[in-house]
């Protein structure tokens, strides 16, 4: 197991380098003089010149990338225009809020998705199976921000049951935090829930037709025990891959959800950055979320092997 983890760690190094290269190249996409965008239109020519030199804009692409990387490794992601603070500071201070939302959403999506998918697969073609298919279709065809707006409309504005904006004020207690989290969590989880339910249904269907399930039944084991200890452990690896993918999407999907609910996370900061073309912040946010995505997928790979003893570690 340990050598496998090490090997995977080594394998992601080129991917991480590629990710930094791609984010670096975003600056190169900026039309015209990048300092115009990076510093804002009001910056002095002096400041521009300083930035040009520090980014190596007068030098070769490779040199620019090396400068970018060395800044990156020392934790320097540039200066945010919209927040007038270092990008790294802004992102780090908001990461916890985004992570909180993403984790709540993945827990909700996984638990509800696996349960719904399994339930449907146990009786294929039944009423609730067909119902799930339709719900999955709609959840997968719905922009999350629209779902968020509809939830706000129903639970916040009409029924006045739940807060619709922001995070709980500091010191308001866990209950208030939880109340503020409910709608954003559901909104963020919806798409993933549908994907996980769909994958679970397919995986369970595949497992349940295996001979060993019949063996388990022929030995007098109860149905729930068979589902819990024989079906799910064999269906989980496939589901886990989807959950890992979704986890990464949830961190980035936060851009939309946080915007709708004014949730003070990385995503909201990036939305605010878009309006004034605060490229360094967007660049830093993308890099950070992409690295998290890579890391999560690594963890999922390891778990996949752990849950699936049949895979030979080579």
């Amino acid at each position: 197991m340990i050598p496998f983890i090490l090997r995977r760690l080594i394998q992601i190094i080129p991917v991480i380098i590629g990710v930094t290269l791609a984010t670096f190249l975003l600056t190169w996409l900026i039309p015209g003089d990048p300092t115009n965008v990076l510093l804002g239109p009001d910056a002095s020519e002096e400041a521009r010149e300083r930035l040009r030199r520090s980014l190596g804009l007068d030098r070769s692409m490779a040199a620019q990338y090396l400068i970018y990387m060395s800044n990156l490794l020392s934790g320097d992601l540039g200066q945010s225009l919209s927040f007038s603070r270092p990008v790294a500071d802004v992102l780090v201070s908001r990461m916890a809020n985004t992570a909180l939302l993403a984790f709540a959403a993945i827990v909700l999506a996984s638990v509800a998705g696996v349960a719904a998918g399994t339930w449907a697969a146990l009786r294929p073609g039944s009423l609730h199976d067909r119902g799930l298919t339709i719900v999955v279709l709609f959840l997968n065809s719905m922009p999350s921000f629209w779902l968020g707006l509809v939830l706000i409309l129903i639970f916040g504005l009409q029924l006045r049951l739940l807060p619709v904006s922001g995070m709980a004020p500091s010191g308001a207690g866990l209950l208030s935090l939880a109340a503020h989290m409910i709608l954003p969590t559901i909104t963020l989880a919806a798409w993933s829930l549908a994907s996980i339910a769909r994958m679970t249904r397919a995986a369970v269907l595949e497992v349940i037709n295996n001979d060993f399930i019949r063996t388990a039944r022929s030995r007098g084991l109860s149905e729930w025990r068979i589902v819990l200890f024989h079906v799910l452990p064999n269906a989980i690896p496939a589901v886990l891959t989807v959950i890992g993918m979704q986890m990464g999407f949830l961190f980035s999907g936060a851009v939309l959800t946080e915007t709708v609910f004014s949730w003070p996370g990385v995503g909201l900061a990036m939305f605010q950055a878009i309006a004034i073309r605060d490229i360094p912040l967007i660049q830093g946010g993308i890099l950070m979320l992409a690295l998290i995505f890579v890391l999560i997928n690594l963890i999922v790979d390891v778990l996949y092997v752990y849950f699936n003893p049949k895979i030979k570690l080579n």
Partner: protein, 351 residues
Amino acid sequence: MQNIEQDKITSSILSVDSLSVCYGSRKKPIKVVEDVSFDVSAGESLGIVGESGSGKSQTMLAVLRLLGEGGEITSGNIVFDGRDIRSLSNHAMKRVRGNGIALISQDALSALNPAMKVGRQMAEPLVVCDGMSNDASRRKCIDLLDRVGIHGAVSRLECYPHELSGGMRQRVLIAMAISRNPKVLIADEPTTALDVTIQAQILDLIDDLRKDLGMGLVLITHDLGVVAGIADRVSVMYGGRIVETGRTEQIFDAPRHPYTVALLKSIPKIDQSKSERLSPIPGLPVDPRAPLPGCSFSARCEYTKDSCTRSRPALLFAAADGVHQFRCPVDPFGARPESDAENLSRSGGRG
């Protein structure tokens, strides 16, 4: 032999009477098992022989009430140990499974849970259903693995199924089947997935266990050769029906149904000369979606007459003992007993 037949009436542990099984919707039912009857006594072994699709496996799944999605027992009785299987509650049925009737599936690799260690898999019902302690169940599993001839049982408990050889997996499956002292053991093609050399070992093992533990054995196979050495009686199934049943030597020495005769002719024999060719059965197995009105074998049978295609043939007695029965109105092999025997000893008899 005579004794067994006499005991049968009183001591039959599993008896199936005119069982029919259908799949599919009520509007368009597909009959896969029709009017099948047999019984097994303690310590006795019954071979059920038929090609794939003949309904033999479905019959056994019906006995365990484990028919697949859409499968249903439409008529007949199944009595196990004095209890009517069809009227048992789900809860009571769970106790019959494994405890009363155990199943050995054909492909041990797919019949074992790939994500569970062998030891845990074996012990699971012992702990969950029989309330054994973990220690006791572990000791029992080691004993069982020893009993089925797996060496180094202790270390095997920690293996996953894919880490064992095919023969060993089949042995594990057998150990699991006998772990709760069942009264009837159903072995569904227990050797098809194995090498020929291992096949004999596994069959011997099953037969030994049957004798030692006094279980009734139902051995399902497509291969008459497999039942030859083991079964006391043989039933031949075709197209969902039993076409011939009798003591093993009756089936091999004096078969009466054309299908049985054809099956016997298709078995290769060691002393067969090169000039003698195996005769495959012409045509395809009957499609249960398009059942024939008369005898299910009539489409492939060289003796078919008009009467064969019109009505379903009844079971006829072939011998006075009341055991040997067959379903053929033409009875080409009964009519010419002398020439028949000659024929068979040349090309189709027991090898």
